[in-house]
Amino acid sequence: MTARDALPDLKALWLLGQGREQDVVISTRMRLARNLSDFHFKSRFRTGEAQRLEVALREALAEAAPDLRYLRMHELQPTQRDVLFERLLVSAEHVADASPRGVAFSEDGTTSVLVNEEDHLRLQVFAAGLELPRLGTAIDALDDRLAGRVSYAFLERYGYLTSCPTNTGTGLRVSVMLHLPALSFRREAGTRAAEPGIVRVHKAAQRLGLTVRGTHGESSRAEGDFYQISNQVTLGRPPEQAVSDLQEVLNQVVQYERHSRQILMEDDRIRLEDVVWRGWAILRHARRITSREALAHLSALRLGVWLKLIDAVTVPTLQELMVRMRPGHLQHEAGRELAPAERDALRATLIRERLGAK
């Protein structure tokens, strides 16, 4: 098997598909943390234990979820691991680790199971847009199938036992990725509402036991105005309630962002158009561009499409570029490792071609 066909085709990736409330919600992710009762947790593995566990879980997964493809992380090339990370199939920790570990995933990337991450098992499901109830059912079914084949570490009093006490209980983390450009927009001095709406979202979320973070963990204005809202509490309330609480907050944030976009269109339309069209111009003409700069312009274009300020590009194309322009994907497509300057040049070419420029 060559390096290239070890990974699924990007075209099948869920992230490029349609979803609910997609003008504001990029994606929904749910994950469950699980450990086996008859193995030590990762920080206390004995010699050879990681290996034995990896083999045991690989076999259990082959029976419980035969439709998933299994790869041993430690046998992959560094760029292949980066590609999996950029498609959200594995975490940054799972990429960086050196111990025997694996990942099982579906071709469309909507399901992935990490073996030997911080916990023995991390089950994940994804969908484009806002999809809480459906994902809840999907991850529950996968969890039940695995529970029939392995023995989970569980106490009636604390629920599922995890390596880190912040996950103890349901082991459930729900994260919803949002695009909040209007709520992040800083108004010029003298206009109404000086405080960006995102600050108020932060405060409200905190009161409800939720966190709001940038894609890379930033707490202030996030790169590309992409934010992640997720639950923190995994004990004391049933998972269904955690999910419905989150749903309620998200509905409000979505309305708030839409309302802010409307106000921006009324108050600041020229400035908004300028940001969108400048983004278009730069992306179609730049010869070298960093991920950060490209993301900022792609974010502006995404907003422009939803506000009908520009119709020269579609949302799926923008979503595809946001994945393909990242370092792992660029190097994977090139078939070799690239220096940062080379990547910036290749990124600019890729974007120009995809946006129909020369």
Binding site: N35, L36, S37, D38, F39, H40, F41, K42, S43, R44, E118, D140, D143, D144, A147, G148, R149, V150, S151, Y152, A153, F154, L155, E156, R157, Y158, G159, Y160, L161, T162, S163, C164, P165, T166, T168, G169, T170, G209, V233, T234, L235, G236, R237, P238, P239
Partner: protein, 175 residues
Amino acid sequence: MRPNCDRCDNQATVHLTEIKGGQKTERHLCENCARSLHMPQAAKELQKLLKSFDPSVTALVKPSRSDTGATCPECGLTWSEFRQRGRFGCAHDYELFAHEVERLLKRIHGSVAYSGKSPRGAGRVGAAPAVDALTTARKALQAAIDAENYEEAARLRDEIAKLGASRLPQSGDGR
């Protein structure tokens, strides 16, 4: 109505009665003030250092007076090692350090009462869920008594009574 802390406005949870030369003085402190008054400087410095590991967890792990220095027979973890890294070594740590775990989980999640599904395939650790809950609570009670944490002990005693009561019909009807 319980008194407020002598040093700040938080509710007092630590009540000290000092008798010196036949003179009795009572002090009411919140957990934070009590700790800052009684923790030696070296321990404070150490705690600051430990926070650098995983601040989300280690900052919440407080020094425990009931820490008996026990070592988990399964994985070798001690509570002071847990405080450094914020990660458990195996499922048994949850029972061995029940008293500390109880306080930690409450601090992180605001509650310790698990609500959700149970695995069908739970093995050794979750073999008999109803008994487990009782056993865990009893261990936590013993630890609370050892630590002279009577408020916690009273709460656990009530909980054990409730757990015991809920099991009676099953064992009593003979089927």
